[in-house]
C-alpha cells in the first residue's frame, strides 16, 4: 500500500510492517478521533486488507473505511487521518509565501522601524474604512497576529479580539442570582410537568392498553390450567422527556444569559434528565458543576468557564462540536433542545445550519430563546437566525420565571 511508495516521504508514524502500521493507525483513530475500535475491529481491518489486497490504494482505503467508520461523520475524519498517517505532508513552503489569513490593517502614520513591531506613540486614530475587517475573513478560522495582543490596540480591536480570541474571554466565574430563585424553581417544575412529547413508539405491558398481548395471556393461562382468566395488554408508554440547554454566554448575551443560567440551574436541580452546556468561543458541559452547586453550597458560583463564557460568539462552530462530541450521549427522540442565544453568529452559517439540522434530526425539537425577540418589531433577519429558522420548533424569548414556565406551550 501507500507506505511502501517511494514517492512519499517516510513518516515517523510508519513502523515496520503492515499489522504494526494498522495498529498504530487504529490507535490514532481511537485516541485522536474517538473512533470506537476494539480489538475485533482491528482484526477485521486486517482481514479486510487481506481480502482486497494492498496493491490498489483506493480499494485498501475503501476497505479500511468500511470497517473503521460507523457513521457519516466518521468518514471525513477517517479520510484526513488516513492521508495524514500514510501520506504525511512535506514540510511545506515558507509561511511568508502564503497569503495572509487576515487583510492587513494598515493605519495612517503607522511607522515601524526596520526591526518591525514598534508602533509610533503619536499615531493618528485609524480611519473607519481602513479599520474594518473584511467580512469574508470573519469566521472561526481567523487567526491573530501577535500585534493583536497589544494592550494599546484600538477599542475596535478589542471587540474583534473578544470575538475571536480564546485568551480574551471573560474569565470571571458566572454567578447564579439568588434573587427570584424560588419562582424560577417553580417555573422549572412547571416546565417539566407540562412538557408532553406524546407517547413512545415502544410497546410495553400496561394495565390498560390498546393491544391484546396473546403471548403473555397464554403464558399466564398455564397457571390456571389453560383458561385465560387474566388478559394481558400492551400499550405505548408516555415519553419521558429529556432537556438539553445550550446557553450562549458571549458578551453580547451576558445580560440575558443570567436568567437563562438561573433557569438551567433550577432545571438541573429538579430533574436528572437535564444537560446544560455553555458556549462562547468554546463549548463546555456545565451539568456536573450545576449539580454540585445544589449540594449545600452557600454561594451559587460556577467555576471560571474561561472561553465558554464572556467571550466572542461562535454559535455554529460550538453547536457542531456539541453534535460531534455530545449528541450521541444526550440527544434522543425524547430530548427537547433549548438554545438561548441572540443568533448573532460571526461564523459560517453553513456550519450552523448543519449542526441544527443534525440536532433537529436526533431530538424532539429545538426551541430557540432569543432575547431580541422580546422587541415587538423584531424580525429574524440576522444571518445566523435566518440559517437557524428552518430547523426550529419555536423562536421565542423568556426572561422571567413566568415566561420560562410556559415554554412547553410554544411547541408545535
Amino acid at each position: 500500500m501507500a507506505p511502501s511508495s517511494g514517492e512519499n516521504p517516510p513518516s515517523r508514524n510508519l513502523l515496520g510492517n503492515l499489522p504494526e502500521n494498522l495498529l498504530a493507525f487504529c490507535e490514532i483513530l481511537r485516541v485522536k478521533h474517538q473512533f470506537r475500535l476494539g480489538p475485533g475491529e482491528v482484526v477485521d481491518a486486517l482481514r479486510a486488507l487481506e481480502s482486497v489486497g494492498v496493491d490498489t490504494l483506493e480499494r485498501a482505503r475503501s476497505a479500511l473505511r468500511l470497517v473503521c467508520c460507523s457513521r457519516l461523520e466518521d468518514v471525513e475524519a477517517f479520510n484526513a487521518a488516513f492521508n495524514a498517517f500514510f501520506f504525511p505532508a512535506s514540510a511545506g513552503v515558507a509561511q511568508t509565501a502564503l497569503p495572509p489569513l487576515e487583510p492587513p490593517r494598515r493605519r495612517p502614520n503607522d511607522k515601524r522601524s526596520e526591526k518591525g513591531d514598534q508602533r509610533s506613540d503619536e499615531e493618528a486614530p485609524p480611519e473607519p474604512g481602513e479599520q474594518d475587517v473584511d467580512p469574508e475573513f470573519i469566521g472561526s478560522s481567523v487567526q491573530h497576529t501577535p500585534e493583536d495582543q497589544d494592550e494599546r490596540a484600538e477599542p475596535s480591536d478589542k471587540v474583534l479580539r473578544g470575538r475571536f480570541s480564546f485568551e480574551h474571554a471573560d474569565s470571571d466565574a458566572p454567578r447564579i442570582a439568588q434573587d427570584g430563585l424560588e419562582p424560577m424553581f417553580l417555573a422549572a417544575s412547571q416546565l417539566i410537568s407540562s412538557l408532553r412529547l406524546g407517547r413512545s413508539r415502544k410497546w410495553r405491558t400496561v394495565a390498560k392498553g390498546s393491544r391484546f398481548d396473546f403471548r403473555r395471556t397464554l403464558r399466564q393461562s398455564l397457571s390456571t390450567g389453560g383458561d385465560a382468566l387474566y388478559p394481558r395488554w400492551k400499550g405505548h408508554p408516555r415519553r419521558n422527556p429529556r432537556i438539553v440547554l445550550l446557553l450562549d454566554g458571549s458578551r453580547s448575551m451576558l445580560e440575558a444569559a443570567g436568567p437563562a443560567l438561573q433557569f438551567a440551574f433550577c432545571l438541573s436541580q429538579r430533574s436528572k434528565r437535564v444537560d446544560v452546556f455553555t458556549f462562547s468561543t468554546e463549548l463546555r458541559d456545565v451539568t456536573p458543576d450545576l449539580r454540585k452547586l445544589g449540594q449545600g453550597k452557600s454561594t451559587l458560583e460556577l467555576p471560571p468557564l474561561k472561553s465558554a463564557w464572556g467571550g466572542g460568539t461562535r454559535i455554529g462552530e460550538n453547536l457542531r462540536i456539541f453534535v460531534r462530541d455530545h449528541a450521541a450521549r444526550v440527544l434522543t427522540p425524547d430530548t427537547l433542545v433549548i438554545v438561548s442565544s441572540d443568533g448573532l453568529d460571526v461564523g459560517e452559517t453553513d456550519v450552523l445550519a448543519f449542526a441544527l439540522r443534525e440536532i433537529k434530526r436526533r431530538s424532539a425539537g429545538i426551541v430557540w430563546l432569543n432575547p431580541l425577540a422580546a422587541h415587538p418589531a423584531y424580525q429574524p433577519t440576522a444571518r445566523g437566525m435566518k440559517a437557524a429558522l428552518p430547523f426550529l420548533s419555536a423562536l421565542t424569548f423568556a426572561r422571567t420565571p413566568e415566561e420560562f414556565a410556559v415554554l412547553a406551550k410554544n411547541l408545535r
Partner: protein, 309 residues
C-alpha cells in the same frame, strides 16, 4: 470475484461504485453485515435485491416499522395450535412441566424473517430494511443475531445459523442507530450518484432512451439536487421521469414538458413552486450543448452561493 460480481450487477442494471464493490466483497469475505445509510431513493434496498439475484439465492426481507417487535421479526408461537394441544391433553396424567415442554417445542414455532434466514440450507440475502424506523428495543434483539448469527428462544434455547446469511441493513437516518449495532456492521454511506454514474444507470436500465435526453435528464437532476427541496429526488425518480418521457415520446426537454411531468420527480406542492421559480435557470442547464461545458455542482438559483464562473 469482485469484477465478476460487478459485472453481474451491471448486467442487472445496477451500476456499482468502487467502494460499493469493495463492500460487497467484504460482506462475503468477513461474513459481516453491511449497514448502508443514505438519502431515500439512492438504491439501498435495490442493492440487496440485485445481490440476491446475482448470487442466485433467496432474498428474505424484513421491513422495519414503529412498534416492530420480536414476535413479528424473529418468531411467534402458534397460539391456536398450543391451545388445541392443551385442550386435547387435558385429561393426561402428564405433569405441568411435560405439557409445557410439548407446547413450546419447534413444532409450535412460527418462523418470521430473521429465524427464516437462519434456518436456510444455502446462504440467503437478508435485507433488514429501514432499520431506523424500528424501536431501540428491537435493535437490541438484532445484536445477538448480527454478531453471532444465532438467536435465543427462551423456551427452546439457542438456534444457530446453518449457513451465515448475507445481511444488508438500510437506514435513512431518521434517527440515530446505536453504537452497538453500528460496531457489528461494515458501514457504507451511499449518496446521490454523480451525473456520469446516473447517465450510466439510465443507459443500463433504459437502453432505448435517447442519449441526448438521458444527458439532459442527468444534468437537470444534478442541478435539482442542489436546490432546497423538501424531498430531493433520487435515482428512482430519475428512472420514473425518464420512463415517463419515453412513454410521452419526448426527445428533448422543454419548459412545458418539465411542468407536465414534474410529478414524477417532485412530490410536494412547495417543491413544485420552487421548480417553477427556477425554470428559466434550469432551461439553461438542459439547453447546454452536450460536452460543451461540464455541469457545475454549485449553481446560483438565488438561494445559495454563486460559484459558477
Amino acid at each position: 470475484m469482485n469484477s465478476d460480481l460487478r459485472a453481474r450487477f451491471a448486467a442487472r442494471g445496477y451500476i456499482t461504485s468502487d467502494e460499493f464493490a469493495v463492500a460487497l466483497e467484504l460482506v462475503m469475505a468477513l461474513e459481516k453485515p453491511l449497514l448502508i445509510e443514505g438519502p431515500a431513493g439512492v438504491g439501498k434496498t435495490e442493492s440487496a435485491k440485485v445481490l440476491a439475484d446475482a448470487l442466485g439465492t433467496r432474498l428474505i426481507r424484513l421491513q422495519c416499522y414503529e412498534g416492530l417487535d420480536a414476535s413479528s421479526a424473529l418468531y411467534e408461537w402458534n397460539y391456536p395450535k398450543q391451545m388445541l394441544r392443551i385442550r386435547l391433553t387435558d385429561g393426561d396424567s402428564s405433569t405441568l412441566e411435560d405439557r409445557e415442554a410439548q407446547i413450546f417445542s419447534e413444532a409450535f414455532l412460527l418462523k418470521r424473517p430473521l429465524l427464516e434466514a437462519l434456518t436456510q440450507e444455502s446462504a440467503p440475502v437478508l435485507l433488514i430494511d429501514e432499520v431506523d424506523r424500528a424501536d431501540e428495543a428491537f435493535e437490541a434483539f438484532l445484536l445477538e443475531l448480527l454478531a453471532e448469527f444465532q438467536i435465543t428462544v427462551p423456551e427452546l434455547g439457542t438456534i444457530r445459523a446453518k449457513v451465515r446469511p448475507y445481511v444488508i441493513l438500510t437506514s435513512n437516518r431518521s434517527r440515530e442507530l446505536s453504537d452497538a449495532l453500528r460496531r457489528r456492521c461494515l458501514y457504507l454511506w451511499q449518496s446521490y450518484p454523480t451525473a456520469q454514474q446516473e447517465l450510466q444507470i439510465l443507459q443500463a436500465r433504459l437502453p432505448d432512451l435517447s442519449s441526448r435526453l438521458a444527458e439532459q435528464i442527468t444534468r437537470v437532476m444534478a442541478a435539482l439536487r442542489q436546490m432546497p427541496f423538501h424531498k430531493v429526488p433520487g435515482i428512482a425518480e430519475t428512472l420514473d421521469w425518464a420512463l415517463a418521457l419515453m412513454h410521452l415520446h419526448h426527445e428533448n426537454l422543454d419548459a412545458a414538458t418539465v411542468i407536465q411531468t414534474r410529478g414524477c420527480i417532485l412530490k410536494a406542492r412547495e417543491d413544485w413552486s420552487l421548480l417553477e421559480g427556477n425554470l428559466t435557470k434550469l432551461e439553461a442547464v438542459w439547453n447546454d450543448k452536450i460536452g460543451e461545458r461540464s455541469l457545475k455542482g454549485e449553481m446560483d438559483f438565488g438561494i445559495g452561493k454563486v460559484t459558477v464562473r
